[in-house]
Assembly symmetry: C2
Homo-oligomer: 425 residues x 2
């Protein structure tokens, strides 16, 4: 039996690993060669970690599982009648069972024109581009002679108060006020303004109310301006508009919405507004029992609420799909999906966090320590655990951020600079 | 007094640090924001280290030296009459003393058309591009159905038998035959062919003869084909021609020649064939006592032989220039340059090396260990020492290479593939 899995994220890997001992041959297709530990991607964007620390070649992860082959390629079409996946380069990959775990990308709620001014982070490329934008803003601010320009360059606005937005805002305030403290001669980086904008009336939707309030307090202690209850109505090259107020900034980052990868639409199945495929209780697509959809691409309601787009949901779904493929082969009935909540956490800077574990809710330093240990433990590769642990310890002690590198500065220009100000003062 | 330094490499940094306590203001200009530890750049190209492991923001290195300011920018012209440097964005930076330490780039001996087919490594961008090419070759080889194409993809040719060529060839053989051993299902990576082509009659020009012979033996033990005594006469999209022989390969890498950065020509001083500026014994430019040139951009003969383009030469020259600027201020005579040879080393794979230290020549495992310790010791940042040490230990034990990441695969195509071969065998 030939099983094809589209996507090497948490869901796709769980399917492949769950079929480790099955008499099947698995083809895992991904358009990148690496699995990405997305929960730490914001640390790459804010120069705390390097790409290799949180990514691992899919081939390495599955190297010893001999019934899996890995294919670099992008799925373009799915033919459920002929039972094959067609890649963008024209190759056709036949399947007996298909698992679509292609994930999600940024969604701008119908304002795709904002994307150019407010990049989000879903891939390593996105994170490196955000890091580049962040670092160049300070380089420009150091040398501009225009005070208004300097203020725009030293203002950062993050749209979206979920975990990624909270983590980005806290990290940017810290890098500016602590890590970069002595790096510049003409600007005071501690004056960097960081706004976190959330349309809802509290941060971290889905967390208990007192932790949501706590997150706001902790961010404000770091110096982040938290703006709640007003939606962003415009994003352009000058900045953004919240309600009636215009914020002038060259640095807007998007952490507000996601939208499913378009390959889901190729199935012709019913979808929700964000493009997620509605799945049956056994995670198969209605009318196509041999096709499963899991992870951020799947819409699944439990107890009347949609499940969140987090790693745990995708992994548990991947486990169930592998079990259901086994069940089909053994002609046993399939199981149905039920998510067991193992808790969730968000960090706020280097020493603070909020944690919502079933039967346990806490915040502050111990939540941060707990967050750090859990994340180290679940990092895929042992090597990454060692390196990330070492970097975190050093960053905790020294506030150093080692990945402040710019290697694509072609076309870079300091704007509105006549001649530079005199030497160091 | 205003000192302008162009270039944040080993030479430029040595000048800035040497003026730490001088009553001057130093402006260090670089078109990238980081100092790069070039001797380990080949390890980034071959996925052993990450860019951040061997690069450090120039601002961080000089953060506590308050008389230095760092400017991101590219020097376009030097006006020795008006005494200013003009950047590509039009800014003019006045100087009382100027130090040009802009370094060198790849040189193709008049065959610039080879550059597109035989990339070299001088920057992080170059190293990441080489890594991308290397990894994609194996991804393509895994899925092509054309045996000749597969052979071309699994053949690597490195042109130039200096330290970089020797280190690249050894690393590529190791990554193919050991690190990637279990990663693929349809190809045998141990069959990867690696050629090292050198026009001279031995590798490692400048080393003692028996070490040059030893390097060849050690590379051949690793499975590298060493071709000596024949020059490359053609490089194109199909591969390269050595003498009368055509080698079919999609992977040609350049480690043969360097050429000085063009800013040296802006001085109007006499230059050698590679574009290096001929300097006076005090390292100033003839006729311009307030302008110094050091590092790979300077041509300096000692005992009738040109000095090599290595970090130690640049650093010692930077020290002397800082001292000569001091001497000028104190109206004392300037010193003249004399390079003290501290030795040189090259690694051949993970456990072998050759070392030529004054009064001491050795090779093999202990040379490798010595090489590793010295390189760790001279890495600029403490954090990098810890991380690189951890990675080397792990790589020594497990042969794992953690940085095998592809994040720019846009436009990637498997060529000449009809339908994929059947599943894992």
């Amino acid at each position: 039996m030939r099983v094809v899995v589209i996507g090497g994220g948490f869901g796709g890997l769980a399917v492949a690993k769950g079929l480790r001992k099955a008499p099947v041959s698995v083809t895992l297709i991904d358009r990148r060669n690496h699995h990405l530990f997305q929960p730490l991607l914001y640390q790459v964007a804010t120069a705390g970690l390097a790409p290799g620390d949180i990514a691992e070649p899919i081939r390495s992860i599955l190297a010893s599982q001999r019934n899996v082959e890995v294919m670099l390629g992008e799925a373009a079409k799915i033919d459920t009648t002929a039972q094959h996946v067609e890649l963008t380069d024209g190759r056709k990959i036949p399947y007996d069972k298909l698992v679509v775990a292609a994930g999600a990308t940024h969604g701008y709620f119908g304002h795709d024109e904002w994307a150019a001014h407010a990049p989000g982070i879903k891939t390593i490329g996105d994170a490196l581009e955000m890091r580049r934008k962040l670092l160049l803003a300070f380089e420009r601010a150091e040398w501009t002679t225009d005070a208004a320009e300097r203020k725009r360059l030293m203002t950062f606005a993050i749209i979206g108060g979920g975990p990624t937005g909270v983590e980005l805002a806290g990290s940017i305030r810290e890098i500016a006020s602590i890590s970069m403290l002595k790096d510049f001669r003409h600007i005071d980086t501690t004056a960097t303004r960081v706004l976190l904008v959330e349309a809802g009336d509290a941060l971290l939707n889905g967390y208990p109310d007192h932790l949501r309030a706590k997150a706001k307090v902790q961010l404000e202690e770091l110096g982040v301006e938290v703006r709640l209850g007003k939606a962003v109505t415009l994003v352009d090259e000058r900045g953004l508009v919240i309600g009636d107020e215009r914020i002038e900034t060259t640095n807007v980052f998007w952490a507000a919405g996601v939208k499913a990868e378009p390959i889901g639409a190729a199935l012709g199945a019913p979808m929700d507004r964000a493009g997620r495929v509605q799945v049956e209780p056994d995670l198969s697509v209605p009318g196509h029992p041999d096709v499963f959809v899991i992870g951020d691409l799947a819409a699944f309601e439990q107890d009347g609420k949609p499940l969140p787009g987090v790693a745990q949901v995708a992994m548990q779904a991947g486990d169930l799909v592998a079990a259901n493929i086994w069940a089909d082969m053994e002609k046993k009935p399939r199981g149905t999906f039920r998510y067991r909540d193992v808790g969730k956490m968000a960090t706020i800077g280097v020493r603070r966090a909020v944690a919502d574990i079933p039967g346990l809710e806490f915040s502050g330093f111990f939540a941060w320590l707990f967050w750090a240990l859990i994340h180290l433990f679940v990092l895929v590769a042992f090597r990454n655990r060692v390196v990330v642990f070492a970097k975190w310890i050093m960053s905790y002690v020294t506030h150093d951020r080692g990945s402040r590198l710019l290697w694509q500065v072609e076309g870079w220009q300091v704007t509105k600079v006549a001649n530079p100000p005199p030497g160091p003062t």
